[in-house]
Symmetry: C2
Subunit: 720 residues, 2 copies
Amino acid sequence: MQQIEFDNQSYLIDGKPIYLISGEFHYFRVPKCDWKHRMELFKAAGGNCLATYIPWLVHETEEGNIVFGGTDEDGTRDLEGFLQAAQECGLYVIARPGPYQYSELKYGGLPSWLCENYPEIGAMKLDGSRINHASVSYLHPLFLEKVVRWFAVVCPILAKFTVTSGGPIAFTQFDNELMGFHLWFYGPDYNPVTMGFGREDGRYPLFLRNRYGSIDHLNEAYGTDFADFASALPTELTDDARPELIRRRKDYFDFYYASVAEFAVLLCREMRAHGIDTPFVHNSANPNMNAFFKEMAEELGGDFLLGSDHYYNLGQHWDQNNPTPQYAIKVFYSNEMLRLMGYPPSIFELPSGSCSDWPPILPEDSLACYMTNLALGMKGHNYYIFTGGPNPPGAGLTTDLYDFGAPIGTNNEIRPLYYVQKEYNDFVLHNEWLVRAERAGDFRIAIDFEHARSDKYWKAAGDFSYTNDQAWEFTLKGVMTTAFCASLSPVMIDLDLEDWVADITTPLFVAASLSMGADNQRRLVDFVKSGGKLIIAPVLPEYDEALRPCRILADFLGAKPAIRHQLPVTRATVCGVVNVSKERIFHQDVPHGAEQLGVEEFTGLPLSWSKRFGEGEAIWLGMEWWHSMREQELLLEALLQRLGLRRLVQSSTPQVWTSLRTDGARSMLFLMNLHSSPVTVESKVSKADGSWLSLGERTLAAMKVETIELAHDVVFGTGM
Amino acid sequence: MQQIEFDNQSYLIDGKPIYLISGEFHYFRVPKCDWKHRMELFKAAGGNCLATYIPWLVHETEEGNIVFGGTDEDGTRDLEGFLQAAQECGLYVIARPGPYQYSELKYGGLPSWLCENYPEIGAMKLDGSRINHASVSYLHPLFLEKVVRWFAVVCPILAKFTVTSGGPIAFTQFDNELMGFHLWFYGPDYNPVTMGFGREDGRYPLFLRNRYGSIDHLNEAYGTDFADFASALPTELTDDARPELIRRRKDYFDFYYASVAEFAVLLCREMRAHGIDTPFVHNSANPNMNAFFKEMAEELGGDFLLGSDHYYNLGQHWDQNNPTPQYAIKVFYSNEMLRLMGYPPSIFELPSGSCSDWPPILPEDSLACYMTNLALGMKGHNYYIFTGGPNPPGAGLTTDLYDFGAPIGTNNEIRPLYYVQKEYNDFVLHNEWLVRAERAGDFRIAIDFEHARSDKYWKAAGDFSYTNDQAWEFTLKGVMTTAFCASLSPVMIDLDLEDWVADITTPLFVAASLSMGADNQRRLVDFVKSGGKLIIAPVLPEYDEALRPCRILADFLGAKPAIRHQLPVTRATVCGVVNVSKERIFHQDVPHGAEQLGVEEFTGLPLSWSKRFGEGEAIWLGMEWWHSMREQELLLEALLQRLGLRRLVQSSTPQVWTSLRTDGARSMLFLMNLHSSPVTVESKVSKADGSWLSLGERTLAAMKVETIELAHDVVFGTGM
């Protein structure tokens, strides 16, 4: 087998782009006698890779006695036998040796003796109590010592089976859903030993020293009077919104993310030392967490690939039972984040059943889920799970049988989900050009990764008129949702990068908070100066990334601070769209040289203006919205049209969302009906000459994604 | 037209049971020239009644100048013309003269001058600030003075058009969704003038005097040292879970609900004084709020009917886009609450479109919604809205056109939703016997109305191992959801009533908190003593309704207090069901004479036992669950089977929920697929002789409710 490589667009084998179709398959749950049979079934359905956890819990039930091998008849500990079987079936393997796994195992797959006998390694709350018995402090020296011993046994086995050694292991994943077991149950880890509180050479004091240089600078930034870095302890995650407290809490999160990256580096180094030469992968537990991995991506560089998990329901705690448009929004921004981080968007846990029997995960919904992920950029995935079986005795957290409603049942029965996956796999394998295709866009939406990292350290607005978290919600539930309903074709850019600044072909929408990095503000100024068309809403930044006053963009625009409207009843009319529905609104004097575009009717206060800078133009819109009304579609269109929008797609109903993907030669339009009722839609695609190509009328069943491949001579207008 | 009457089972005309099919139709939005045409369309679709707000805002734009009549060409203020038109079309009318309405009108339909010029009438927070500019303090003397003036004009008009006066008005609704505009934005109203804080003859001090008799008793109950009732101010809605503070907060809510009932009594008295002789109706804003109207129901007696509003989505803030099984749970307990309060379950706002264009309300989903409501007990409804139109200038809160995606569009276009409603209306009119049918049950679930009233005054558990709110969640998301998935047929009983105590035909499941009314505890004892079969989980009450120590039930059972399990990992096996999934678990010594039924396996601690009392039996189950796993179905069945369950229905999949309704002669089985994928189901019904009648296999489309009418000779086993 040849090594699987990847670039920023797709996986490749021997330079040929391929789609990765992996299936989770646990040798410790599936009886050994069924391995080959089920692997062949997976291959027959189009799969090319398997993934498995290697649970520490199962292999070291007593401390110091690590057991691997075929001694159990059912193969519970026979990792080598499993890797051998995969290789014989011609399937690649993604190996996941932990240390932590979850997988609904007791203590998340960590040994009981570790969690019970060594409480000091636990991830801790600020008050020193443990977050959860299965939450460990990643960099605690004693935990690392135990991990090193575990890796010293498991890694050499894996090293024997990597692709370069003639085996099937194409990728190795360190840990699993890092940070989830801290943040879901509490917040970041404050284990004092790990973080080195109170020690000048402690991890956190060193981080602060690196950031502030001197304790005086830190005290100035925090409004404190610490004697030294050792005593500059973190503060509670309160709602207090004074800049110095937001800054202090943000510092701790920056530190925490960096410490998790340090852990990842240690794990990778250890694995390399034992001869594992595959690229490393890791999965963010959900789209909201992707942004927490920026430090790790930088530390690990090109030998690492971050993917995400895209569940839509795992129990009654979830909002939606099926992959709805709200799910599609998550899929879209998650895939776009991964793309912008330089990875082919990979979904390492794509729902294939659920750890809960109810609400049920249904085959038709699953197919809609897969096709939606594909439509919005997925370049490879791992079905979680392809098949299950009984948990090793005492190891199951929920029930004793880990069935998951998987495509292949625990008695080898083939369920309808199997045929649905085969249908999807066949589709991607027959359209493998799609892995080099990208989404065609007619306007851009900015993503500020910091917006997605802020909800825990900047919860409440306080005196701030608009927070990062609010801007992030506006991006997703406002402009992005409105755009899909209006059959516009947004693509995302990362404000932290330079790559978008020189591209002035399509307008850019920025949902801004009062805080934006100084460099990002400068980039927006450069963009407009070079002829770029910008819409910024609902405020203009007044602070930089560290909450220090910074008005680079506002000064360039000649704008005063935006003021939050205080009237209980307001009526907003912008660009001819009357009484458009909004959440918060802001007003501001129209800057010198700008043209007023909108007004709050009861007060006559201006709430939108436009100002030109040569070919460039900036529109400020003092209005936030969550998509709910047709008027919001009209407003977004009106603003973009003013800025030269050349629309790529038309869909006759907001019920059907679209995604146009092209590799430059071949193109495909995805039509998504993510509602529980059928719908008839007429769709059109814009040609380069500005005329519309009608794709006719179609009736889509409930929860149905359909595709239309366009003739080779159709070339689109702009924004490609 | 003849008066519409109602008893505790259905609406009646001249003694004949009928189904009320009303449609919301706003004369102030629909142009006058379209009234008759659209009314005829409604009638052609099977409707027999219209409902309309009469917005104070529209009729008294300037204080003191109340305008009614046909002066506007569009009929915006022509109430009489509208009532005349309805009468000519043979349609009844539900008149809703406010004073408050909402209906997405500015200030909820209250005049701007009222909300802007008289801030003292506002509902207030504990700190004296206004809750919201549209939230009024119902009993504020100045507000009542203005209401009396408004009613003095509007009520005589309505009185001329009641059915007994030869007009169409069958019901009059006072106000709308009472309490919603307080509780959604803050909590109960603390307007000091209204509530009489600080005055011995104030409303709240009098309430306290009535409850405690002397200030010493109050101080003893609160742990305070108030000099008199006047100074016994309410306290903040904190998380503090000390009994004396829960008690004090609960007192304020009891007082608040009573004050709203007092307001309702005043409004009704005023309307009666002006000659309105119809029964009065009111709509609870949602199922969660039904329990807040117990005092009102008692005050108003038989001349009053409470209904509820059953939306499933009105915007992105809602959890689900379509009527899912979770929605069915809400419908079920809401209808059961209304039935237990003595009313034919009426849904005064049954979704017919939405105030948001997105997420869309789709015709197929709507039909599933209507049929689900019918399957679970609805006896009459009002489509909100049947048709809309432009808001009167400046009166619209969201957009200028109040279209709502209604069945009849604002240009008289007939939308698919119209035909769906016709289909539903035809169904109920052709099966009008269903209005005298009730749900056949094979076991009972207790409802303690106080559980549904507690979330605001008893938010956190504190030292309490189990709160009212947790017991309520367990009821809905645990046992009730499991029961429907297992195709069991639960019906609900009201613990506060006596009617269920002597009925020992089916087992009773009680989800209990640490608090239960002393009378209710006594009833449970009497029930078991008379041979009743009881399951109580996850704790036994240790306090009465006022949080005073009270162990009537526990002492009868000879049980010690249940102790919350503290192990991080637990494994529960009960009645042979191994490792059943649970949330919180409790253990307790097995009382003398009881048989142990379940154990936590790691510790060996007992978590379930059963004790017999003659024919009666009580099972304690120290386990809470939210439905997620098949094992939970098995556990519920095993417990009920032990208590003599005679199951009424079998459905071959948890995806299809059932409801069997019978009037004793005719019977119908409803099969509900409230998922977005189709499903094939085999269903069976139990006959009196214990054999099963197979109803064959059916494939239900996504979001489809189907019915099977049973042959007349099928008689069911038990529980009727």
